[in-house]
């Protein structure tokens, strides 16, 4: 676990052009700004007293330079980032950072774009955000930018970087391109980058609030948040979907959707029998939800597909099949027998199972390579 590592970088330089000054120009009041800090504080699960510290830190920093690299991606995480909704305006979120290189939004193109990236790398102390997996088969020729491979660009961009944030399941774990049979030899960032702290923010796509919260944590505490064994911040990935799900009471009461559009479905009963992967998935989806908290997949009547878990395209499919029975701790039998105590026991069993299946997949990957 990468615990409380201190990162020294350019962002520590206090300056007159700090964020609060920037925000004032945008017509944002100190009060609104504090509200933003409070939301971020809540997402980070830090005590209320920390909000002032977050505000002070943000008010004085220069925006940390960011290089956002897109490799084998679909731009879904970029789009998610553009939908960032807390604070009140998307451009504030953009202004939290100085996004010096980001192919989807930057004005420069071709050589001029590459020069912008190189200039930032030269200064160092930057954040690298990676979206998409990196193909390593056949010398990496399945993803080239400017005539160079993704592998080479990643290695150059992370040199001298303060930290690397892998957004989305692809950058974190290889994601979709790495699904069986992984035709291009796609891997996640942690498989390639050594010597620089790497934080994984999986999800398909990443929830923008988790990017913002991670960056704010970094600016405020001069350190990276505490991570789990998969490199995911505990503040966002420390709990199972199932533990915070609004349908959990129905699970415990044995009330399950049996068919799409049936009465239970219309009433918001538990989606476990329709294939929900919430019992095996670690994410803050049910609490922070999506698009300014409007909704989340289970809220819209579809089961969780487990998109924050490593290898979910293989371990969680078929998506509409209920999670398998775990001997002795059968969630399925719980579904029919009902019983709070048994449900709690099942939860533990399912969690153990999730770890087991991930480990097995890893072993399989080793066999293949």
């Amino acid at each position: 676990m990468a615990k409380g590592r201190r990162i020294v970088s350019i962002s520590e330089t206090a300056g007159a052009d700090g964020m609060l000054a920037m925000l004032k120009h945008k017509g944002v009041s100190r009060r609104e700004f504090l509200r933003f800090c409070a939301v971020i504080g809540a997402t980070l699960a830090v005590p209320v007293e920390m909000v002032g510290k977050i505000a002070d830190a943000l008010a004085s920093v220069r925006r940390p330079p960011v290089i956002w690299l897109e490799f084998q991606d679909c731009a879904g995480c970029t789009e998610s980032f553009l939908r960032a909704s807390r604070p009140t305006v998307a451009e504030i979120v953009l202004d939290l950072l100085s996004v010096d290189y980001h192919e989807t939004i930057m004005a420069a193109a071709g050589r001029q774009a590459e020069e912008a990236r190189e200039a930032t790398i030269k200064t160092g102390g930057h954040l690298v955000i990676v979206e998409g997996s990196i193909p390593i088969k056949d010398g990496g020729l399945y993803c080239c930018v400017g005539g160079r491979t993704a592998m080479e660009i990643l290695s150059e961009a992370t040199r001298g970087a303060a930290a690397v944030i892998a957004v989305g399941n692809c950058a974190a774990f290889g994601g979709l391109a790495a699904a069986e049979p992984n035709p291009t030899g796609a891997v996640g960032v942690r498989d390639l980058v050594k010597g620089v702290p790497v934080i994984n923010l999986p999800g398909c796509p990443v929830n923008a609030i988790n990017i913002t919260a991670t960056v704010v944590h970094y600016l405020t505490f001069k350190s990276l948040p505490e991570l789990d064994a998969w490199g995911r911040p505990l503040f966002a990935y420390g709990k199972r979907i199932h533990d915070n799900c609004e349908r959990r009471a129905h699970f415990d009461a044995g009330q399950f959707v049996e068919a799409w559009g049936d009465e239970g479905h219309r009433k918001g009963w538990c989606l476990y029998k329709m294939g929900c992967k919430g019992p095996e998935t670690y994410s803050n989806c049910p609490t922070v939800r999506w698009n300014e908290g409007i909704n989340w997949p289970v809220g819209a009547g579809h089961g969780c597909v487990g998109c924050t878990q490593p290898g979910f395209w293989d371990t969680m499919t078929p998506f509409y099949r209920r999670l398998p029975t775990v001997p002795g701790f059968s969630v399925e039998s719980t579904a029919d027998k009902i019983g709070l105590g048994l449900a709690a026991a099942a939860a533990v069993g399912v969690a153990a199972h999730a770890v087991a299946s991930s480990v097995r997949r890893k072993t399989k990957g080793t066999e293949e390579s």
Partner: protein, 571 residues
């Protein structure tokens, strides 16, 4: 001849490289290359066809709904499933707001900086900017004080010395023609559109759980329940919220986007003669208004299906999906015979990279030079996208399309031939946005009316279980993505995917040459494009961006190696 290389082409989705030979001050020849691929179709082999939409939706994170719709339609076509009316209506609404939001993002965030010089906005007089804005629209945010505020924000941003995404661009290029006031107005709307897009797309979260990547489709219908008497279903409250968002969407499109396009276009009318390209256009059509189950006969479509050849707007030819085929002559794949094309159901895809070893300076454009295949319709290269859709609809006599196209042409004092251009593509996208934005509230009302009749069905259950399926089936699904005609072709055997092929809009448009040397739409459109300064090829970006490229969608092929089944069953 000097060769200009643009790689990465930015402000697009995915990895695109353009190489162009410039003769004198114009492009003489151009090559378009997709430089990334993932191999999704191989990954799909052997999987549950009901899962396919979740995989294919990840082909693209920008227009996040279209591959999902296309995939479920392909499987429904194969299995003969007719979805309930509520599902059809919800799909139309989801896709409609996707068009509107995506086109606005394209115009302001991906395309406008080709025409708008941010640095020059700093010279603008806010009072004059206000006059300009008020002369074209009654959008409320048009006061001198408002534009003064925007100007100060930009100044503060520049003063911070951290230009972020605006650093190092072609500012000051002689091809920028707007007066400072128009630049400032556009910068203000760039920022407003950023706010607006994340607001209106909440409709996707209401109907689909989240955006991007909705989680709401099902083979056979949708997963978002409708129930006026439940908090967990689509009810009066959520319908009212949707309508509020759609009113906002329509207002912005009519009071900001359209007036901006009409205000900017007169400064760039020479671009109504640049970037014409192929002159052949294909639309699969979309937004079914009646309930049918076959992709070949999708019922009445709000945007019609058709082909236009050689700029002839008098004839709309019918579409036959069997006339779609792909070449790999200049693509990094091999067929038994590289000179022959293949229909997607026959979909044979073996990667065969023969390009230069990275790092490289130039591609070998005489040989294979792209990860994109070359799709052709009836052996012709065609253009797809908003321009194709609007031309087909215009030629077919679509009343709202006709109304708006005629209005825009009259305002700019140009004839329909101006549409065959870089400017025409940009105008067609805007016109389409207006036409769709008009429909969102009526379509939502129609859904509400159907629910109030007591129809709560969202899913056709009869065919949900694979045990009810035929042993073998094949189907194709269609849609019009914001970027153009999209088709998925699927073969199902023993309840599993036997073969899956997607031909996506950008594969048509960004295609390399085929066996007979016919260029794709980008390659054709770039010929003749002026290039004032080969070091800063701004004009090439204008024409390429007018297509709204999406390379992640375009590149998805790989070898047909059997997929080993790997499930977590039994622990």
């Amino acid at each position: 001849m000097p060769r200009v290389v643009i790689d990465p082409v930015t402000r697009i989705e995915g990895h695109l490289r353009i190489e162009a030979e410039v003769s004198g001050r114009n492009v003489a020849s151009a090559w378009s290359s997709g430089t990334m691929f993932r191999g999704l179709e191989t990954i799909l082999k052997g999987r549950d066809p009901r899962d396919a939409w979740l995989f294919t939706q990840r082909i693209c994170g920008v227009c996040t709904t279209v591959h999902a719709i296309c995939s479920v339609r392909a499987v429904e076509d194969a299995l003969g499933i007719q979805i309930p009316p509520n599902a059809r209506m919800i799909r139309n609404i989801i896709e409609g707001i996707q068009y509107v939001q995506d086109h606005v993002i394209h115009f302001y965030h991906l395309h406008a900086l080709d025409w708008v010089d941010i640095v020059k906005a700093l010279d603008a007089d806010p009072a004059k900017t206000s006059q300009l804005a008020q002369s074209i629209s009654d959008w409320p945010k048009s006061s001198a004080a408002y534009f003064k505020g925007v100007k100060e924000r930009v100044q503060a941003f520049v003063k911070s010395g951290q230009l972020g995404p605006f650093a190092n661009a072609y500012w000051g290029h002689p091809a920028y023609k707007l007066p400072p006031e128009a630049n400032l107005m556009a910068v203000a709307h760039y920022l407003e559109a950023l706010e607006w897009q994340r607001e209106v797309i909440k409709a996707h979260a209401i109907l689909g759980g989240k955006n991007p990547h909705l989680q709401t489709y099902l083979v056979g219908g949708m997963s978002c329940p409708v129930d006026p008497n439940s908090q967990a279903g689509l009810n009066a409250d959520s319908i009212a919220y949707l309508k509020e968002l759609f009113a906002k969407a329509k207002e912005f499109v009519e009071k900001v986007y359209l007036p901006d396009v009409l205000a900017v276009a007169p400064f760039y009318l020479d671009w109504a003669k640049v970037g014409e390209g192929l002159g052949n256009f294909l639309s699969f059509g979309d937004f079914p208004l009646t309930d049918t189950k076959s992709s070949d006969d999708p019922g009445d479509l709000f945007l019609p299906r058709g082909v236009i050849l050689n700029r002839d707007l008098k004839t709309v030819h019918p579409v036959d999906q069997k006339k779609v085929a792909e070449y790999v002559t200049h693509s990094w794949y091999s067929y038994e015979d590289d000179k022959k094309s293949k229909h997607p159901w026959e979909g044979e895809t073996r990667p065969n990279y023969t390009g230069p070893k990275p790092p490289y300076k130039y591609l070998n454009v005489d040989g294979k030079y792209s990860w994109l295949k070359a799709p052709r319709y009836d052996d012709k290269a065609v253009e797809v996208g908003p321009l194709a859709r609007m031309l087909v609809a215009y030629a077919a006599g679509h009343p709202r399309v006709k109304h708006w196209i005629d209005a825009v042409l009259a305002k700019l004092r140009v004839g329909p031939e101006a549409l065959f251009s870089t400017l025409g593509r940009t105008a067609a996208r805007c016109i389409e946005t207006v036409v769709i934005a008009e429909q969102l509230i009526p379509w939502t009302d129609e859904l509400a009316a159907n629910i109030s009749k007591g129809d709560l069905r969202i899913h056709e259950q009869k065919h949900w279980e694979p045990s009810t399926w035929p042993k073998e089936a094949e189907g194709w699904g269609w849609t019009e993505a914001p970027r153009g005609a999209l088709g998925h072709w699927v073969r199902i055997k023993d309840g599993k995917i036997e073969n899956y092929q997607c031909i996506v809009p950008t594969t048509w448009n960004a295609s390399p040459r085929d066996a007979s040397g016919q260029p794709g739409a980008y390659e054709a459109a770039l010929v003749g494009t002026p290039v004032a300064d080969p070091e800063k090829p701004l004009e090439i970006l204008r024409t390429i961006h007018s297509f709204d490229p999406c390379i992640a969608c375009a590149v998805h092929m790989v070898e047909p190696r059997g997929r080993k089944t790997f499930y977590i069953s039994g622990c």
